[in-house]
């Protein structure tokens, strides 16, 4: 797929140069906006949830604060139940705008760090329609080791190999994110893996010989429930399908449902983050 995408990118650049790409007016089918849920329960962090709405594809965007006002879905009653208790998330804007991590529902309670615990989400929208979802916290999977290797042919460049061990007795899904020097830009690597084809239980993720002395490498390993993996994969396919004629698109695979016909993800966020300096 990587080669196909590269081919398509090269093709598009070439075609643009030949004036073979042009703007056209098209009519898309009628679309009814849907509520969009994003809730990542991170152990030790407050309960936070982002509730927004989707738009018809060609609906105009609002700028400045109008963008948030248009996007955020306010006035809903949000609660999360776990271990026989329930926490209400109030309609409060929080988070860091700069990296786009904004939440409009939050609770002062913190998410317990208990693998195996199940959380249930209930949302009642101002129009009475409902959204619900369930997720179970997975155990954290840690990096075994991060190895820096110098190129034997060029001693000025290095690569980093990140090793982890998987439990082959269960089906596991992971997301590996790797950034260089800073974490607020597009990651160098961000992909999903499963252990379905692994025969030894050992995984390694690596860079090419592209790193220089004193580079800082951030390695994140997220242990995903299957429904979160499927949701992320469907987003990747939806994005690729709209740009690449060789890629079949996918509808968004959500794990939230209800009379409000929502899309989105309600999941626990369990990850191991390592930062290594190349030396």
């Amino acid at each position: 797929m990587r080669s196909t995408t590269g081919f398509v990118l090269l093709l598009m650049v070439t075609l643009a140069a030949c004036d073979l790409s042009r703007e056209v007016e098209i009519d898309l089918p009628e679309y009814t906006p849907q509520p969009v849920v994003e809730c990542y329960l991170e152990p030790g962090q407050p309960f936070r949830l982002l509730l927004t709405r989707s738009f018809a594809f060609f609906d105009p965007f609002g700028l400045d604060t109008a963008f948030l006002e248009n996007t955020l879905l306010q006035g809903a009653a949000v609660s999360i139940r776990y271990n026989g208790t329930s926490t209400m998330l109030t309609n409060t804007l929080s988070g860091a705008y700069a990296n786009g991590k904004v939440y409009n529902y939050a609770s002062p309670d913190t998410v317990p760090d208990t693998p195996g615990i199940t959380f249930e989400l209930d949302i009642v929208l101002p129009d009475g329609k409902q959204i619900s979802g369930t997720t179970t916290m997975l155990p954290k999977v840690r990096w075994d080791s991060i190895v820096v290797q110098r190129n034997p042919d060029d001693t000025l460049v290095y690569r980093v190999l990140s090793y982890m061990t998987d439990d082959l007795a269960t089906s596991n899904y992971y997301r590996r994110v790797m950034s260089i020097n800073r974490t607020d830009t597009i990651p160098e690597q961000d992909f999903l893996v499963t252990d379905a084809l692994n025969e030894t239980g050992l995984f390694v993720f690596g860079t090419g010989y592209q790193l220089k002395f004193k580079y800082r490498v951030y390695n994140t390993l997220v242990h995903l429930p299957k429904e979160y993996h499927d949701f992320l994969e469907s987003i990747q396919l939806a994005l690729a399908g709209s740009e690449n004629p060789f890629q079949q698109p996918s509808p968004i695979k959500s794990n939230v449902s209800g009379s409000a016909n929502p899309i989105g993800i309600f999941t626990c966020l369990v990850y191991d983050l390592d930062s290594t300096t190349v030396r």
């Binding site: 700028l63 860091a96 705008y97 974490t183 379905a196 994005l239 399908g241 060789f246």
Partner: protein, 826 residues
């Protein structure tokens, strides 16, 4: 005299050299075929062995019988210049058989030798027609015939319409289009690269794939539902360069017949179409070298007699040469810092064939094809190889027992394979798939009466699939990933067809094919009735109708409807039942003003057990591939598939039009089970093809094609995806609703071509072929994507990148593209 002597010596030396090379090549091919035959013989059930023994016994018993059928072959030339006359008709009115001369003027015709002699009529526009009496006894006949020019510029010659169109009027066969390599070569082509499959796209009932590609969507079927046969061997992926060129080198091809419906019972295994591609056989009389230089590839063909008039050879090759240029550029820039090397890419085809006339009653042909695409890329992070290709070989023995019985026995082998490999320091990744056939086809033809024929036979194919084979890990073995499945089974079929002329006006063809797929203890059976009939209302009006049922036991798992080298062939299993189609066709054939053939057909096709990928299917990272598939139904119909055709005169060509609907649905995991239009559902499809031969030197050609908008799956909505800390948000994530609710703008294109022929004093021929693809420069849609525009704004005093606009952008692939190709022959 001396010159002639040297020429002969040179020709003789060439023949000897080529003969030696080919003997070596074909020893290998024969060895493989024999090995396959032996393994097949031990593998096949007792029925097949019985059939093979019976065939041998029947062959022996008939060998002593008196044969009264002969093969008439020969060459037609211009009486003055001795140039070969291509495209002329050779017609035997008594037997109602017709042949068209090839580009060397060659022809062959099987004559029924009940008569002491028969009249054969030779016709070519611009020449006086000629009748010759041929004594058709037990010996084959070879004729050198020269036609007198009418004396001035080529004029229309009134040819009896029945000569050329009699077959169409009298036959029960419906839905058949035939195209010769000569026609394909005359028409303008993308980048000058003649492609007989792309020319087929201009026939009615066939929806072309995306711009510039060789995709064929026949009567509502997907591209994998076409059986592509090269001399009887299946070609599983008949494409180069992601489908932009087909694997068929026009220099090595004689003609292609595409059956869109009314399939004869000896064809089976696919639902929608049979593309029967026949290779050329080498010239039995003269040694020749021909070829061409084009923008992206060059071609060379050698052919000639091994024993004059009896045995011949042909070898033809084609190769692209972009990689030669890119390698040079990469080499020149090897010391430039931050230079990104250009990947290497090339493809080649090699066709080879031998033809032996073993006796007046026995003909043996052996043909072989090898084609490959190779993509290679190396930089600091990658050492990447991606290659794919087909191999196909056929050995075919035709034997004439007597005037009533003949046999046709073929041993075939074909293989399609792709491999992807990437190597990193200490780690590797390999992936690939293979599908391989080894089989035999045996058929007997019985002509008990001039108005009755019977054909029956057996096909047996051992098929192996290596599906989604993947190996990856570290060189020390500590890390290891693998997947892939291997399947091996046998597809069997017995078939019989009787064609009978019930009355002077009415013909009926009744056939039955009983097929089976045997795999891992499972057996799937199918009974496939084939019925077709014709009724002559008037000497120039014929009504036709047909019904066929088809079974397909091998399935292509492809998500986009485009043909990619990485698409997987997968066998029928207990979870994947055979695909089935039922097609009804009715139509009329009319010849008017003696030059024009009009065909109208209406058809309805129902398809069962159709396969689609579930949304988000991943065929490589799952050990259970069938979990990624879903099964549904489909149907297609057309009230109007029209074709006007003119085959003779200075101006030849055709006009085609199709009005059709295609739907798929009942897939539990796709589109909520609702029916939807597949990508290749185009309501209107029209084409105009014109070839005008102004003189012996100049020929002008043009094609026009119109297709109403293809169905497309575009997003209806969008949302902003925040994602987790450390990963930037996605401001615009598309939301896809029901499949293919959008229609692209209509596609139309005009291509023009000019051919200028030359002849040297020494008799060598060459020509310059000019093509102007997309002459009007129309920007046809290849795909449409939605492109958001962004601005950085301050929100709560912090800069945030937000989307501000979305534009739909249409990408077109080809502007007006001129090309020139030089072709030669000596």
């Amino acid at each position: 005299m001396e010159k002639v002597g040297r020429g002969k010596k040179f020709s003789h030396l060439c023949s000897k050299f080529v003969l030696k090379a080919f003997l070596a090549l074909f020893c290998a091919v024969f060895f493989n075929l024999i090995r396959i035959s032996v393994s097949l013989y031990t593998m096949l059930p007792s029925l097949l062995r019985w059939f093979a023994r019976t065939l041998i016994i029947v062959g022996c018993s008939f060998a002593g019988a008196t044969a009264q059928t002969c093969l008439l072959s020969g060459r037609l030339t211009d009486a003055d210049s001795r140039e070969p006359l291509a495209g002329a008709s050779v017609y035997c009115p008594v037997d109602n058989t017709l042949a068209i001369t090839d580009d060397k003027g060659g022809f062959s015709l099987l004559l029924n030798a009940r008569y002491d002699s028969v009249i054969v009529v030779f016709n070519q526009p611009g020449y006086h027609s000629l009748q010759r009496a041929v004594r058709a006894d037990t010996q084959d006949v070879y004729l050198e015939v020269a036609l007198e020019n009418t004396g001035h510029a080529i004029q229309e010659v009134v040819v009896e319409a029945n000569n050329l169109y009699r077959e169409k009027l009298s036959s029960t066969q419906t839905s058949l289009s035939t195209l010769t390599a000569l026609e394909a070569k005359a028409l303008p082509a993308l980048l000058g690269e003649v492609d007989i499959i792309k020319t087929l796209q201009l026939k009615p009932g066939i929806i072309p794939g995306p711009e510039g590609t060789t995709g064929l969507f026949v009567r509502g079927g997907s591209s994998d539902q076409n059986l592509v046969l090269l001399d009887g061997a299946t070609v599983y992926n008949a494409n180069h360069l992601f489908g932009f060129f087909s694997t068929f080198n026009a220099d090595a091809i004689d003609q292609v017949s595409v059956y869109k419906g009314g399939f004869p019972a000896h064809f089976g295994g696919r639902l929608s179409a049979v593309l029967d591609v026949g290779s050329r056989t080498g010239d039995l009389e003269d040694f020749s070298v021909s070829g061409g230089l084009g923008l992206i590839s060059s071609r060379l063909t050698l052919e000639g007699p091994l024993q004059k008039g009896k045995h011949s050879f042909l070898v033809s090759g084609r190769r692209t040469y972009a990689d030669v240029i890119t390698r040079t550029i990469n080499h020149l820039n090897r010391n430039v810092a931050d230079y990104n090397p250009i990947p290497d890419y090339y493809f080649y085809d090699l066709n080879a064939g031998l033809h032996f006339t073993l006796s007046p009653k026995d003909r043996l042909t052996v043909s072989s094809y090898l084609g490959k695409d190779d993509f290679h890329f190396v930089d600091d992070n990658f050492d990447f190889d991606f290659d794919w290709g087909n191999t196909a070989s056929t050995a075919r023995w035709r034997h004439l027992f007597n005037d009533q019985w003949s046999s046709d026995l073929s041993v075939v082998y074909s293989r399609y394979q792709y491999n992807i490999e990437n190597r990193l320091d200490g780690f590797f990744f390999r992936a690939g798939s293979t599908v391989q056939d080894a089989g035999i086809r045996a058929a007997m033809l019985h002509l008990p009466h001039p108005r009755r024929s019977i054909r029956f036979g057996l096909d047996a194919t051992n098929r192996r699939f290596d599906v989604a084979r993947l190996n990856a890990g570290s060189n020390d073995g500590q890390i290891r990933f693998s997947s892939g499945q291997r399947f091996e089974g046998t597809e069997l079929a017995v078939h019989a067809t009787e064609e009978r002329q019930i009355s002077a006006r009415w013909r009926l063809s009744t056939g039955l094919r009983a097929s089976a797929w045997l795999y891992a203890g499972d057996a799937f059976f199918g009974l496939e009735p084939r019925l077709s009939t014709s009724y002559s209302l008037h000497p120039v009006w014929t009504l036709k109708a047909s019904y066929v049922r088809m079974y397909q036991y091998a399935h292509l798992l492809a998500g986009t409807g485009l043909s990619l080298p990485t698409d997987l062939w997968y066998p029928g299993t207990s979870g994947l039942r055979p695909q089935i189609s039922d097609q009804f066709t009715a139509g009329v054939v009319h010849v008017f003003q003696e030059h024009y053939l009009f065909t109208w057909e209406a058809w309805y096709k129902k398809m069962q057990n159709q396969i689609d990928l579930i949304d988000g299917a991943d065929l490589y990272r799952t050990p259970d591939l069938e979990s990624q598939l879903t099964i549904g139904q489909g149907y297609a119909f057309s009230p109007m598939e029209l074709e006007f055709e003119k085959k003779n005169g200075r101006l030849t060509g055709w006009v085609g039009y199709t009005l059709a609907w295609v739907r798929r649905g009942d897939f539990p995991d796709v589109n909520g089970g609702r029916y939807y239009a597949p990508r290749y559902d185009a309501r209107h499809n029209a084409s105009v093809v014109a070839m005008y031969r102004q003189s012996k030197r100049w020929q002008f050609t043009g094609t026009f094609v119109y297709t109403s908008g293809y169905a497309a799956w575009l997003p209806e909505g969008r949302f902003t995806f925040s994602d987790i800390p450390g990963v930037p948000a996605q401001p615009v994530v598309p939301v896809y609703g029901d499949r293919n609710t959008f229609r692209y703008p209509a596609y139309w294109r005009l291509d023009l071509g000019v051919i200028r022929k030359f002849k040297t004093r020494k008799g060598a021929e060459h020509d310059l072929t000019f093509s102007l693809y997309n002459a009007t420069g129309r920007r046809n849609p290849y795909f449409i994507y939605l492109d958001p525009g962004y601005e950085t704004v301050l929100i709560a005093e912090q800069p945030v990148k937000v989307p501000t606009s979305i534009q739909a952008k249409q990408v077109s692939l080809f502007p007006a593209l001129p090309s020139v190709t030089w072709n030669f022959k000596f």
